[in-house]
Symmetry: C2
Subunit: 888 residues, 2 copies
């Protein structure tokens, strides 16, 4: 064969040699590549051949097969006959085959399977003779006709199942297996009649015709709606196509010395190094999954068939070592002989993923880099938060957005005060609100979890919950919350205050009643893995933390500084909100300054605590950002109380509230616009920061404040605010007789700031991308309002991901990349980071690595995920990831 000869269309495997290898997944699909590789390894695999996936699109485009396929297929069939010593369609020793689809990437539920192909009224008799087992022969036949009806004739299972049930009833048979062979034979005939009745076509008796029909049906299955949707959703190109595997049948249903099963080379839940799985005797593969018979744990196989078990163990070790990863195996035992039917990379729990990776390093199977590279970062969530026991069968009542991971059970309460009161008594409560606002904060602190009917992934509830590491399901639209009646209604069911509900914030599910939870656990394996990861990454990982407690939690999770300290959260508690409101209601600068003077010592104390918690690490403090109306009460009663407290009339207070109300608060008087209109606020905050920094520095603490001006659209806004901060810093340093080095930078959260990043970088020492607001403005999409249509957008594939969860690299990312380039061009040593909600999202972390940013910052519980993702991004840059990902 010369170089210019076309690639073969059919790849044979058998008798210890295969035309293909594991590296040829693109041609053979995952299953075919695995079969080829196992054959080459000398592992017992029934012989067979694979039709190349490239034929799939040819078939779908032309509606037929290229002429050169037939001779190649017939040649392969000839080799298969030779390898098995049987004849396809033979009346003495008939060759039967399975036909299975198998694409390069695993597509769960997209798998088409036909077993026992080659049977007809003649060959079944030969099989009967050959096996000496009429039940086996006719059971195989009726299975084949049913599967063929489903796959090739696209018929539903139901008429077949009903016919089977009628036969069982007539025969008084409890199990399929108890049917006499005559009943099975008649059933096969009945199945053929069903096919004829439903499709007007006859079941093909000619094995060759059966085979071509099966191959065509597998190719056609590539274009079902379900498969096409799955591919679009997972970014799998339509052109990939599926291969077709045609394999000589081996039989697990030849009697009690036969069986079939699945096994994992290690426990996929715990990661323990032990053969794990289950099997059924006298069964074909479909019986294991159908749930009609209950499979037995694989450990029992050791007792039942010690030799086959020993073979399986040996094969398992060989395959794991060969593929250097935990394998998910399918096998059949035919009259005591083990045959492997599939090997692929095993899915596993977060715990298992970590343990397996670390132990495989210890065993010398993989490198530390490979261990780090292969853990999906979000799997760490399972190690950090309680999870729903997978064995539980909870009562699902609604699904919302998975806004903050972890699971919790507790009594539903409908307002923050109740949450606080009951929480303080030690009761587990779940705060249920239409949506939360800063005034609910005290209740959120004492709730175990938060459920909202409105709001998205970056709604107030979601952001605060993630910050606190509490589970949160947000935007569960099916739920109607009646806060006054203290009741939630969902699809006609009512859950009243005090009734127990359970949330799974990792999946967005809401359950009625308590559900068994599995507590989180950080193992030594985890610590070792993270240690390796830290050594590999370039990106620093910081935490978004507003309080000393958050800061400590962040450090516990490995944060190397604070990337976003939101000062406004400090203003919501007790006395503080009073002083804040006094400031807002003041009629002149002098009044504002009096109120700010009350806030100064409180804010200074907070900063001291935070600086101490983060000693030796940088702390980025964002100046006041939200619109002032967020600090004012909404309810009539509270307005009255506030008016009394401030010695103002209710009308005065209402007038201020109305004056400050905005049509689009997101785009209104907030961020640095506040500091420009009320420079005294900026001055007070700067003073609190620098006084706190000097206090800590005076006691030999290392402080690195980074003052961040928010919502800059135009460089002059930055310049004006920077001037105030610098003046105050100098004043404080003079008063305290000590100087603290600090940086002055800005949050890039508006498209215009990104577009003019060069101008801004000439004056700002760092950029921190606020990707939440940048996403909102770039998309013109309010995160508070998007909940009404974004779920629909996702469901209908209008967008492929929620841009508030995954960073929109094609849009927002383009702006960020432009800003980084413009900014670094204007200031070489510009420090660049990201502090929006995307900071802990692995895709975004990889993007930040590619942009050569200095750090990412995220909520405390996402810090480990970001650390791992950052290491993986660094490895990917070096090419290590690609190598490890090339394994099956």
């Amino acid at each position: 064969m010369t170089d210019s000869a076309p690639h073969p269309l059919v790849y044979f495997f058998g008798q210890g040699r295969a035309d293909g290898t594991a590296a040829m997944k693109d041609v053979l699909g995952g299953k075919g590549a695995g079969l080829a590789e196992m054959t080459n390894l000398g592992i017992p695999v029934p012989p067979g051949f694979t039709i190349a996936a490239s034929l799939c699109s040819t078939y779908l485009e032309t509606g037929g097969f290229p002429p050169r396929l037939r001779p190649q297929l017939e040649a392969a069939l000839g080799r298969l006959e030779a390898a098995t010593g049987r004849q396809f369609g033979g009346t003495v020793e008939p060759l039967l085959v399975s036909v299975r689809s198998g694409a390069a990437v695993s597509m769960p539920g997209m798998m088409e399977t036909i077993l026992n192909l080659g049977l007809n009224d003649t060959t079944v008799e030969a099989l009967h003779r050959l096996s000496g087992n009429a039940s086996f022969a006719y059971d195989s036949y009726r299975r084949f006709v049913q599967m063929y009806g489903g796959v090739v004739f696209d018929l539903a299972k139901r008429p077949f199942d009903e016919a089977l049930d009628r036969r069982k009833k007539a025969a008084g048979a409890a199990r399929d297996i108890d049917l006499p062979w005559e009943a099975l034979r008649d059933l096969t005939g009945e199945f053929k009649e069903i096919i004829h009745k439903e499709t007007g076509k006859n079941f093909p008796d000619d094995p060759m015709q059966q085979l071509w029909g099966a191959v065509a049906a597998v190719f056609e299955s590539w274009n079902t709606r379900r498969a096409a949707d799955y591919r679009r959703h997972h970014d799998i190109p339509d052109s990939m196509g599926t291969a077709v595997n045609i394999v000589a049948m081996v039989y697990g249903n030849m009697g009690e010395d036969s069986g079939t099963g699945v096994a994992f080379t290690r426990d996929p839940s715990t990661g323990e190094r032990v053969l794990y799985g289950e099997y059924l005797l006298n069964a074909q593969g479909e019986d294991v999954v159908s749930g009609i018979r209950t499979p037995e744990p694989i450990s029992r196989l050791r007792e039942r068939m010690p030799e086959a078990y020993a073979d399986l163990e040996r094969v398992s070790r060989t395959l794991e070592r060969h593929f250097r990863d935990v394998q998910d195996l399918e096998f059949t035992i035919e009259r005591g002989h083990l045959y492997m039917l599939q090997t692929r990379r095993a899915q596993r729990s977060g715990h298992a993923a970590v343990r397996c990776a670390v132990e495989m390093v210890d065993e010398g199977q993989i490198s530390e880099e490979e261990a780090v590279a292969r853990i999906p970062p979000n799997d760490l969530n399972q190690l950090l938060h309680p999870t729903i026991d997978p064995k539980a069968q909870p009562d699902l009542v609604a699904t919302g957005l998975p806004a903050s991971p972890g699971a919790a059970s507790g009594a539903a309460v409908f307002d923050a005060d109740s949450a606080e009161a009951r929480g303080k008594k030690g009761e587990a409560v779940i705060l249920v609100r239409r949506e939360t606002s800063p005034e609910d904060f005290h209740g959120m602190v004492l709730a175990k979890a938060i459920l909202t009917a409105r709001g998205g992934m970056t709604s107030h509830a979601a952001v605060v919950a993630r910050g606190m590491g509490k589970p949160c399901v947000a935007g569960a639209h099916e739920i109607e919350v009646d806060e006054e009646a203290r009741l939630l209604t969902v699809n006609g069911r009512r859950i009243a205050e005090g009734e127990i509900i359970t949330l799974d914030g990792s999946t967005g599910r809401v359950f009625a009643g308590p559900v068994k939870l599995i507590p989180p656990e950080l193992s030594g394996h985890y610590s070792r893995l993270m240690g390796w990861a830290d050594g590999m990454r370039h990106l620093r990982v910081r935490v978004n933390a507003d309080t000393p407690a958050d800061a400590h939690r962040g450090r516990d999770f490995g944060a190397e500084g604070i990337g976003l300290c939101r000062t406004e959260h400090m203003f919501f508690e007790g006395e503080r909100i009073s002083a804040m409101r006094e400031m807002i209601l003041a009629s002149d600068e002098a009044g504002r300054k009096r109120a700010l003077a009350k806030l100064l010592p409180m804010q200074r104390t907070d900063f001291e605590g935070i600086f101490r918690a983060m000693e030796g690490y940088p702390v980025t403090i964002r100046l006041l950002d939200p619109p002032l109306h967020e600090f004012l009460p909404k309810e009539k009663e509270e307005i009255r109380a506030l008016a009394d407290e401030m010695g103002k009339s209710i009308e005065d207070v209402e007038r201020t509230i109305s004056r400050l109300s905005e049509v689009n608060p997101m785009l209104g008087l907030r961020g640095c616009r506040l500091g420009i209109m009320y420079p005294e606020i900026t001055a007070m905050q700067a003073r609190a920061i620098f006084e706190a920094a000097c206090t800590v520095a005076a006691r030999k603490g290392r402080v690195q404040p980074e003052v961040m001006i928010p919502l800059v659209a135009h460089v002059v806004e930055f310049r004006k605010q920077a001037l105030i901060v610098r003046q105050v810093a100098e004043e404080v340093f003079r008063e305290r007789q000590i100087t603290v080095p600090y940086l002055l930078g800005t949050m890039i959260e508006l498209p215009r700031a990104a577009l003019t990043a060069d101008e801004i970088a000439r004056e700002a020492q760092f950029f921190s991308f606020g990707t939440n607001d940048l996403t909102q403005t770039t998309w013109g999409l309010s995160r508070d309002d998007a909940g009404v249509f974004l779920p629909d957008y996702l469901e209908r594939n209008i967008i492929e991901f929620d841009p508030f969860i995954e960073l929109d690299i094609g849009g927002v990312g383009k702006l960020i990349a432009m800003a980084v380039e413009l900014g670094r061009h204007a200031r070489q040593d510009l420090k660049v980071g990201i502090c929006g909600e995307h900071g802990g999202e692995p895709g975004a972390v990889a993007f930040c690595e590619a942009q050569k940013m200095n750090y990412v910052s995220c909520s405390p519980f996402r810090v480990p995920i970001a650390r791992l993702a950052a290491a993986q991004a660094a490895l990917a840059e070096r090419g290590t990831m690609n190598r490890t990902r090339a394994t099956v």
Copy 2:
């Protein structure tokens, strides 16, 4: 002098020759260049010299003069002495000079002037002897000391004026001129004492010391706060500096055969070709402007001094022909001899600008291109709208934003119903609202003008008023509107319903009472000029029009199609809003479709009218854009009425209103998001468009519908909506048995659309930039809320212009340029236009030309402005503008 020799610092002019020319404005300033050019033309100009503007920054940086200045200045002074035959500081024939600032660009009110420099107690006596006029000599002296005190010693006018008043009182003199010379002499001494008392310094008697002091003071005046602010505001570089002009004095105050005045070579109000201006006999320049004496019209000079008048007329013609533009002249007549002191390009009214330009073409003075290039496009506003009579002295009560040009008087009314009721009776009413909403539309139609206390240049009131060509003042924050009490309060004054007020929408001013207005007039000159302009431009100019009436008006103004037809405005009237509300309140798709079926014929009729009005031109129709809650009532009473009408409970209606309410409606469920959630709306609108198009086409009308999908952020949104529109189009074409060519495109109004313009252009046939929303999202700035702080930003120079009025080329423009490039790269024949409020703003038009867009679209009354601006932009591309702008 070799090439490497430094440029001279001092430029002499006199005796028919000047070192400088008109082309050297950068060196000599405008005034110095004019004096030099006039000298070279042989026009009588008193001799003098100019110190180069480049010295200004040297002086300001070093605080002193370079050594080489002194010899050059002394040499020039020597030449001046020779030219005049007088000696600087001479006791027989003393040379006196004026010292005046003069930068390359005119900076009104930044002009420093000292006259009669060189006088002291000795030289004044020589002047007395020489003139034989003691009053003249001492009047000149006291004026000099006062001006010197002001300019050099930075003293206020007041103590000098008080001293003068005391003297006049003591002498019983009514006018300055009536004071006896002794009183003037004593006054001069008193002025010197004032200087000593206020500054501790002595008035310098030495003329050379006087001269250096004056030059330094002129340079220092460049850095006053006022001047620096003016430059920053007008983008004038600080480095430009001012030149200093030192000119031999000529005297208009030498008696009744002397005088001084200003003249225009044509009437600056009407453009009539007649010498226009005013003069005073026996006076110095400052008297003309001070207002103490009333100048006489220049026509009187012809009778009083026929020779001088004839000289002035001749000079005027010479200068106008030489500079090829209307000139603004200053002159002095000394004992019957005319001296020209300044010539510069004359400011003129819009009417005059057009008439002068056209007539100068007819006279062969300038080309048609020059005529087109020199009219400031916004000056056309004065031709299109009534204006306040410049002679009126109205009672200004507040100033807001100049939201829609033109002036109107009428009775204040505070709600739309009153406006409609009174307006229908023929009364002129002005609708005053806190802010307007679509529900006020019927009142706006009948009001003469609109005044709002809140909202910006692109608030509802502003946009609607501009569309209707009605004057509007928006965001007049000083005004409090009490709609219930039917009263406005402004700075303590109250104006009740029915009281007459006057608005000037071109300047944002609000007056109490009626004010005399000048009606608009479109002359033949205007038509000819616009005809030339149309022949020069590349950009097509379309109109934003929502009704057949708007479309007709747009065509009258020269629009070549509709660039933006907002379909939602069609839904607000009478029955339509009922059907719209029925659609919104419908609980399912069937209910929505029933309501939409009622809207279909109405919308189809509208489109028919619009297509007919725009026959032969393209019509871009934007599908429904605003959030649905805009169509629902807000007041309790209206909600009740709506509930009754729809047969629903008040609670039902309120629930829908609450469900549809949004935190940030600008970023919520609107634009194509509506069409995606409710495809039946898109289908109905598409049907109305294509049915109307087919109807018109069937009667041989040429229709070019361009269907525009709004608010696309992601290409898939466009794809989904485009599919519906195309399907409906095919259906209608099939039903009607006729095909109408149409385009399908999108509005680029979100940053993400601009960033992914290549993806979108692969599917969309045209882009129309919606610069209003693009500005809002790029800046993160709600136009509804920015009114609270944007004026402050402008006042404090944080931003140099309102981005909702002028296109932000450095930010938003960057996005647009990127989108045009990406879009054209993906689709070569992509049609590109702009339809936001900037479409008629000359700066934006020039930007669109530079981007090689196909068209701009704007409100009807801005169409002529856009046509002219487009022609100028095309000329600028060819370099014609630069040439014509190089003239003085």
